[in-house]
Assembly symmetry: C2
Homo-oligomer: 359 residues x 2
């Protein structure tokens, strides 16, 4: 990796069983050291050639929203108010595209919103229900964040979705949220067979979905028929996307990437606890139901999703991975892109394929 | 994106439904312009925290092999000899781990090697056969390259694999290779139902697998029961991995990434021809059989695999994506890593699930 000629040769490295040709050489030095650490020179990466024009536009809006966000080490109330405003706007736009009826409820003491399609629940979905667990770093997202994830799925799938406001940090710590999911789940089990219940969530909600299943197994509840863990799954954050996604999203490359264990909600919890990260226990994973994993190449959690699928598959679980090129963390929270519509369709089809139908 | 404070705020951008916390700030500037072009500052990316120690070691070997490769714009004979040596060594190592019997044959004028497991074809695989299409940029890989891909699958799956030496560039151009696959396929159709035949390949072989299915549909042959397109699929190269994978593998970031259309084999072919890139035609894709897609995050074709799955799924095809974090282009050509063993298991399981069993 010392001279241009050498670098040119390195270009053929990976082509042993491959399909390579010569690439244009850039000026800055590049290399990989003896431990596999890649020195990335300064360079530019265009927005994905596969992404839609709508996504290119939406990415600017999302970046702009980020520029005005309150600092994360500031008061949690400010973050909650800020993201509630963004999520309420999303929910408003979603309702126009995906008409639903929303009812506030309290289930076993847990605040919830029941979302049903305006055109009615489909006959095939009558004996099924989905629980949604919203995102928000186990800090915010209650209420409007859940609606953002529940509305399109309820409408496209013509299925009932119950989105719940589980306890979060910093007021509460693990396993408060898992307990709340279990409380709601127990109530639903009186009406629905476990195989007819699906659970899904994005980001913190994706992580909590995996934790909830681990918790159910721990307290000897039956596992649900299928789950979806999007932009956050059963493994602690790590891998290459933790480094690469931030600069692709306008952030500085991290010296040490974020870990979930650092979140206030996980204060006092142990990273090697399978109830925190089910990825710690292959034996536990073997009991998991079919799992859908969704992410994008500008999502810092992409590698953890990839690793989660890998471990689930190794444990014998039917784990389905879908990635959209150029898409960012929880990209489908904004509905005006074909990528989001495709993601909703994948979610709906997955649960339809895996959930039981009989009462 | 002008000050550290601003950048700090941008860090919260994507967290609207998310799970973020604060990241350590690096010194170099970073940003995304109005067209979504990300300016990546110089930084380092460690080898994936999810990858095995064996993979970390093997990556060094693969990089070293690349350093000694003949230039790609040199005589094709030199490249063929060089990669044949590497692939012959791999085949030797594979045979030790995965005992097989290999028979040379010519099928409808096409040179082929029939690979069967030493411990015998399993009863459930008796009426099934796999065709392997080797990689090598449609330039090299004949013979030993096919063995590298056929041996582990034949042994692990206890199934017959026929790897064929289709015509390549620069001596031949598209659609010579598609025609060769069809010739062999027609012979196999006399003995096996189409639904019991699988086709798979890596890199150029993955691309050719998709092209062959398009060709079959074009000449009104039935489609096979299932296909596998690894490290190369139905879409022209593009997306973010085309930029990001090279510097992760010690190469300079490309100014303009490689396209398959530039390969000598595609001289005179049109990029918008669905027989070249089936991704061009959703109508054609709708006729595709279940498709397995495999890649790694240091593979420059990752984004095209991701996009290929996206388009197949949109067309209603059962398309299954598996990615290994930190793994490179055709990583499973070297068998001494758990990641390779996992990939073989995924391949075998996929075809077992989808191929017909009755004669």
């Amino acid at each position: 990796m010392k001279t241009n000629t050498r670098r040119l040769l390195v270009r053929t490295t990976l082509s042993c069983a491959g399909l390579f040709a010569l690439q244009a050489l850039a000026a800055p030095p590049a290399g990989v050291d003896a431990r596999g650490v890649a020195s990335i020179p300064a360079f530019t990466v265009p927005f994905s050639s596969y992404a839609s024009a709508q996504a290119e536009k939406m990415f600017q809006r999302v970046l702009d929203e980020g520029r005005h966000a309150p600092p994360l080490n500031g008061p949690v109330a400010a973050s909650r108010a800020y993201y509630d405003k963004i999520n309420s706007d999303r929910a408003r736009r979603l309702k126009k595209l995906y008409p639903v009826r929303i009812t506030d409820r309290t289930i076993a003491g847990v605040p919830a919103q029941v979302v049903v399609p305006r055109r009615g629940v489909a006959a095939r979905q009558k004996h099924r229900v989905l629980i949604n667990l919203h995102g928000g770093a186990f800090l915010w997202g209650a209420g409007s964040g859940g609606l953002v994830e529940a509305i399109p799925v309820a409408s496209v799938g013509r299925i009932k979705v119950i989105t719940i406001d589980y306890r979060q940090g910093p007021e509460h710590v693990f396993p408060a949220a898992s307990e709340d999911v279990a409380k709601v789940y127990r109530v639903l089990l009186k009406k629905y067979p476990a195989t007819n219940i699906g659970i899904y969530g994005c980001s913190a909600g994706g992580v909590l979905t995996g934790e909830a299943v681990a918790w159910f197994i721990h307290v000897k509840l039956p596992v649900p028929g299928a789950i979806g863990t999007y932009c956050g799954s059963i493994a602690e954050l790590g891998g290459e996307s933790a480094y690469i996604a931030p600069p692709l999203s306008g952030d500085p490359p991290p010296k040490k990437p974020l870990t979930l264990a650092e979140l206030p909600y996980f204060k006092g919890a142990k990273s090697d606890d399978p109830l925190v990260f089910p990825a710690n226990s292959p034996k536990l994973l073997a009991k998991f139901p079919p799992t859908l994993l969704i992410t994008g190449t500008r999502d810092f959690t992409m590698s953890s999703e990839i690793q989660s699928q890998r471990l689930l598959v190794k444990a014998g679980v039917d784990a389905e991975l879908h990635i959209w090129d150029g898409m960012w963390h929880s990209f489908f929270s904004d509905p005006e892109m074909p990528e989001s519509r495709e993601a909703y369709a994948v979610m709906v089809k997955f649960f339809d394929r895996h959930l039981g139908r009989q009462p």
